[in-house]
C-alpha cells in the first residue's frame, strides 16, 4: 500500500530530518487490512532512527503527538483502529518540541 507520511513539530528530527516520506507498506497476506496500529509499529521500525520513545509510548503515539489522516484528526476516524487506504496521507506532529 502506498502511503505518504509526514513528520512535523520536531518529530522529523527522529527520522533524519526528513519531513515527508513516500512509503510502501505491505499488509500481511490473509491478514486484516492495514490499520493505524500496524502503521505505527511499521514506522517505528522502518523510519524512526533515534529516540523512538519520543514517537511512541506503549502501543500508540506518545501523548502530545497529534495524528492526522488526510488532514482529519485521527481521534475522529477511529484512532489505532483506523483502516488505511491506498494513497492516504498520515501526518504526525509533536506538540512537545519548542514553544
Amino acid at each position: 500500500m502506498h502511503l505518504t507520511l509526514e513528520f512535523g513539530g520536531g518529530l522529523e528530527l527522529l527520522c533524519g530530518s526528513v519531513k515527508t516520506h513516500s512509503v510502501d507498506v505491505k499488509s500481511e497476506p490473509g491478514e486484516h487490512e492495514l490499520k493505524m496500529r500496524d502503521l505505527l509499529s511499521w514506522t517505528k521500525s522502518n523510519l524512526i532512527k533515534e529516540r523512538p520513545e519520543m514517537f511512541m509510548k506503549g502501543n500508540t503515539v506518545r501523548p502530545g503527538v497529534l495524528v492526522l489522516i488526510n488532514d482529519c484528526d485521527w481521534e475522529l476516524c477511529g484512532g489505532l483502529d483506523t483502516e488505511l487506504e491506498e494513497k492516504d496521507v498520515v501526518v504526525f506532529i509533536s506538540t512537545l518540541h519548542g514553544g
Binding site: 505518504t4 512535523g8 513539530g9 520536531g10 528530527l13 506518545r62 501523548p63 502530545g64 497529534l66 492526522l68 489522516i69 488526510n70 488532514d71 482529519c72 484528526d73 481521534e75 475522529l76 476516524c77 477511529g78 483506523t82 483502516e83 487506504e85 494513497k87 492516504d88 496521507v89 501526518v91 506532529i93 509533536s94 506538540t95 512537545l96 518540541h97 519548542g98 514553544g99
Partner: protein, 362 residues
C-alpha cells in the same frame, strides 16, 4: 488516476459533520469540549475564545504599545498571527510589534530568528531583536563553556526574562504578551505544588503579572490548549520553528509535562481543572507576598539588593560561576527546597514562569 488530493475522497468513518455548522466535514475533536468541528468553525471558536479572554480580563487599552514575545516557536507564532488578526478585526487600537531574544546559541537561534523574520513580513509586524551579548556581555555559548551544562537552565530562565523586559523597555512597550498556553500553566501549577511554593502557585495562574512593575505581561492563551494551537498552525500553514534546545536537560519539568499529557488523554478537561485548582488555591493562601524593590545595579525589580541576573553575571565576571546558583532565597521568607536529583549539583531553576529552554517561549 487519483488527483492526489486525498482529503477529497470519501473515507470510512469520517463522514461526520461539524457539530457547529452541520454542513462541513469535521476535521478535529476539540479537547476542551469534545466537539467535532470543521476547520472554518474551529478558526472561529479558537479566535473568538481568545478575543473573549482579552475582553473579559481587560488585557489591553486602546493605544497601548504591545510587544509580542516571539521565539519563532509554535505558541508565539500563533500568538503573533492571532493578535494581529484580532487587533484589526476588533479595533483594539494596539501598536503591536515582535520582540525576540538572541541568546547566542550557535545554530539554534539562527534558524528560529529566520522564522521570526519571515513572520515579521507575513504578519506585517515590526521586529526587534535583543541579544544576550548586548545585554549581558555574554552569549549563552560562552556561559555554557564556563559553567558546564548542568546549571545553564538557571541562566536561560533568568536572563531570558530580563532580556524581554529590557528589550520591551528599550522599545517603549506598555505591555508584553507571551504564548504561554493552558498546558504550560497546568504544568507550572503542578510543579509549584510539587515544590510547595504557594506564593508562585497563586501567581502562576494570573493572566496578567507584573502590574506593579514597569511592563506588565499577559497570557492571552491562558485557556488555549496546546493541541488546538498546533492544529491551528497546521491548518493555517503558519511557519514555525521546532527543535530542542541543545542545552536543555531539565528532566523534572519534562516529567510533569508528560504527566499532564497522560491525564489529557484520559480526560482532556484535566488541564483546565488543574488551572482552576491553582486559581482556587490563591483564595486560601495568606502567605505574605515579598516586598518588591529594585536591583541597585540595573534597576530591575528585585526583592534582594542585586537581581538574580546581576548576581549570576557577577559570578560569571568574577570567575565564580556558581555564585547565585544553588539555594534560592525564598522571596516570601520561606526557604525553598532545591531539588537534588541524580546529581547533587543539579538545581532547578527557581523561576517556573520561564519554561525549560527546550521550549523557548519565555
Amino acid at each position: 488516476m487519483e488527483d492526489g488530493n486525498a482529503s477529497a475522497r470519501p473515507r470510512r468513518a469520517t463522514g461526520r459533520l461539524c457539530s457547529i455548522c452541520n454542513q462541513r466535514k469535521a476535521a478535529l475533536k476539540r479537547p476542551k469540549t469534545l466537539e467535532q468541528i470543521c476547520r472554518e468553525c474551529f478558526y472561529s471558536v479558537f479566535e473568538d475564545e481568545i478575543h473573549s479572554v482579552i475582553v473579559d480580563n481587560n488585557l489591553f487599552r486602546p493605544g497601548e504599545r504591545v510587544a509580542v514575545a516571539a521565539s519563532g516557536g509554535k505558541d508565539s507564532t500563533v500568538l503573533a498571527y492571532v493578535m494581529s488578526q484580532l487587533n484589526c478585526r476588533h479595533n483594539y487600537g494596539l501598536d503591536l510589534f515582535l520582540l525576540s531574544v538572541d541568546e547566542g546559541i550557535t545554530g539554534y537561534r539562527d534558524d528560529s530568528l529566520e522564522t521570526v523574520k519571515r513572520n515579521e513580513i507575513e504578519y506585517g509586524l515590526p521586529l526587534k531583536v535583543v541579544s544576550y551579548k548586548d545585554l549581558y556581555g555574554w552569549t549563552m555559548d560562552e556561559i555554557v563553556k564556563t559553567i558546564g551544562l548542568k546549571n545553564n537552565c538557571t541562566f536561560c530562565g533568568v536572563f531570558r526574562r530580563q532580556a524581554l523586559d529590557r528589550g520591551a523597555a528599550l522599545m517603549e512597550a506598555d505591555k508584553i504578551v507571551t504564548g504561554h498556553n493552558a498546558d504550560d500553566i497546568a504544568e507550572t501549577v503542578l510543579l509549584n505544588i510539587l515544590r510547595g511554593d504557594i506564593a508562585r502557585l497563586s501567581r502562576c495562574t494570573f493572566i496578567t503579572t507584573g502590574e506593579d512593575g514597569p511592563i506588565p505581561r499577559c497570557k492571552p492563551f491562558k485557556y488555549s490548549y496546546e493541541k488546538e494551537i498546533v492544529m491551528y498552525a497546521y491548518f493555517k500553514k503558519l511557519d514555525y520553528f521546532s527543535t530542542e534546545c541543545i542545552y536543555s536537560p531539565n528532566a523534572y519539568r519534562g516529567f510533569a509535562r508528560e504527566f499532564i499529557k497522560d491525564l489529557e488523554r484520559i480526560r482532556p478537561r484535566a488541564i483546565l481543572d488543574i488551572i482552576k485548582s491553582g486559581e482556587n488555591f490563591r483564595i486560601a493562601t495568606s502567605t505574605k507576598m515579598p516586598e518588591q524593590g529594585t536591583c541597585v545595579r540595573c534597576g530591575y525589580i528585585s526583592s534582594q539588593k542585586l537581581c538574580k541576573a546581576c548576581l549570576l553575571l557577577e559570578g560569571l565576571n568574577r570567575g565564580l560561576p556558581k555564585l547565585g546558583i544553588g539555594r534560592t532565597r525564598g522571596s516570601n521568607g520561606v526557604k525553598k527546597h532545591v531539588e537534588h536529583r541524580n546529581s547533587n549539583t543539579e538545581v532547578s531553576d527557581s523561576n517556573l514562569e520561564s519554561k525549560q529552554c527546550g521550549t523557548l517561549n519565555f
